[in-house]
Symmetry: C2
Subunit: 229 residues, 2 copies
C-alpha cells in the first residue's frame, strides 16, 4: 500500500514524462511537487527500491511499467472525482481540483469502478482531460493550440493548457466551454490577438488566451477545386 506522498510523486513524474522524452530530473520533480531537491532524491531512491521507477544517480528517474500503472490509476481517480463533483454535485470546474487531490488517494477499486459506472463512463474530465481506463490506458488526444490556426479555420475546443482558477473563471465569464466550436475570423498581425467566433458569438481574445486553448487538429480545408477524377 503506497502512501499519499509516494502516489503524488509517481503522478508528478508521469506528468513530467508526458512533456519530455527523457526521465524526470530531480529539480523538475521538486518544482512540480513544491518541495526541495533533497526530498526528491530521498523519494526517488525509495521508489527505485520498490521498483516503481528506474533511477540513476544524477540522471533523474523514469517510471517502470508498474509505476506507470499506479500513476495512471491515481490520475483516473482524480479525474473521475472531478467529474463527479461537477456533474453530480454541481461544483464549478475551478473548485474541484483541490478536493480531487484528496479524493484521488482513497483506496478501493470497487469504489472507483462503481463511480465510473455511476457517471456513465465519461471519457474526459471537466477540463477536457482524458480519463484513463481500468488498465491505465488513456487515449492521447491529438490537439493543437488555437493560436496555430490560420484565418477561417475552425475546430473544437478539447482541453486547456493552463488550469488555474483565474483562467477557468475567465473562460466562464466569456462563456467558453469544452466542446465549443471555435472559428478564427481574423488575426491581428500587430499583437497576434484573434477575432474568434465561438458558438455564434464573435469577440476578441489575446494571443496568451489562444495559446492555452487546445483544439482538435482541424481537417485540412481543401481549396475548392474541381476534381478531374
Amino acid at each position: 500500500m503506497l502512501s499519499f506522498s509516494e502516489e503524488n510523486y509517481l503522478k508528478a513524474i508521469y506528468h513530467i514524462e508526458q512533456l519530455q522524452t527523457e526521465g524526470a530530473s530531480t529539480n523538475t520533480v521538486a518544482k512540480k511537487m513544491q518541495t526541495k531537491a533533497s526530498s526528491v532524491t530521498d523519494m526517488l531512491q525509495k521508489l527505485a527500491d520498490k521498483r516503481l521507477v528506474v533511477y540513476k544517480k544524477y540522471q533523474g528517474a523514469l517510471l517502470s511499467a508498474k509505476g506507470k500503472k499506479i500513476a495512471a490509476s491515481v490520475i483516473r481517480k482524480h479525474r473521475l472525482w472531478e467529474t463527479f463533483l461537477v456533474n453530480k454535485l454541481n461544483f464549478s470546474w475551478d473548485e474541484v481540483h483541490d478536493i480531487a487531490e484528496q479524493l484521488e488517494h482513497i483506496k478501493s477499486e470497487k469504489l472507483i469502478d462503481s463511480l465510473d459506472a455511476f457517471l456513465e463512463f465519461p471519457r474526459v474530465d471537466p477540463h477536457g482531460d482524458p480519463i484513463p481506463d481500468k488498465d491505465g490506458n488513456m487515449t492521447k488526444q491529438k490537439k493543437v493550440m488555437l493560436s496555430t490556426l490560420k484565418e477561417n479555420q475552425q475546430s473544437k475546443l478539447v482541453t486547456i493548457k493552463d488550469s488555474s482558477d483565474n483562467f477557468l473563471r475567465y473562460l466562464d465569464k466569456k462563456q467558453i466551454a469544452i466542446g465549443n466550436t471555435i472559428k478564427v475570423i481574423a488575426i491581428e498581425p500587430f499583437d497576434k490577438s484573434i477575432q474568434v467566433q465561438i458558438e455564434g458569438r464573435e469577440f476578441m481574445i489575446t494571443e496568451e488566451v489562444a495559446e492555452n486553448l487546445l483544439v482538435e487538429i482541424p481537417s485540412l480545408t481543401l481549396p475548392k477545386v474541381k476534381r478531374t477524377n
Copy 2:
C-alpha cells in the same frame, strides 16, 4: 488542520463517551484504536494542548466543546459517505465501513454539504445510525434491545448494535432491514430464543441476535379497560 490520526482519536473518544458517563480511559481508547496505551497518552497530551480534550493524568480524557464538534463532523462525514455508497453506488451495507473510514477525512465543508443535499438530507445512515447535522447535533434515538420486549409486543427496527460484516450478512440472509416491523410471537424460556414475525414472515432468532437488534421503545400496550370518565 487536524491529521487523520487526531480525527480518529477524537471520534473514538466521542464513541466511548456515548457509552459511559466518565471520561475515556487511556486503556479504553487504546482498545478502540487498536494501539498501545503509551501511544494514547502521547496523543491525549497533544489533544489537550490543542484544547480538544480535557485531560488529567491518570484520569482519562473528556472532549471539550470544540473537540466534540470536530468528532461529530467526522462522524457526519462517515455516515453521509456510507449513505452515498449504499444509495447511489449500490454497495451493500457490509461493504461501506472501511471505505467511509477513509472518506471521513476529506476536508471540504462545501463537499459534505453538497453531498448531504445530493442525498436529500438523510437522517440516518444505512445501519440506522443518526447523521449529525452541520452543527454537530444529533437526535439521540431512544431504543431498546429486541430481547427486552415481552410476548406480543411489537416495534420497529431502528439500528443494530453489532456492525460486523458477519452480522450484517446474517441480516441480509434473513431479509431483516432497518425500518422493518418486528413482533415478538413467543419467547422460549429454556434458551431465550424468540419466535418473531418480521414484515409478515415468521421465524426464530437466538437471544444473541435479539440483543443486537435495537428497536423503538414500544408504546405501552394498555390493558383494554373501560375508562370511567
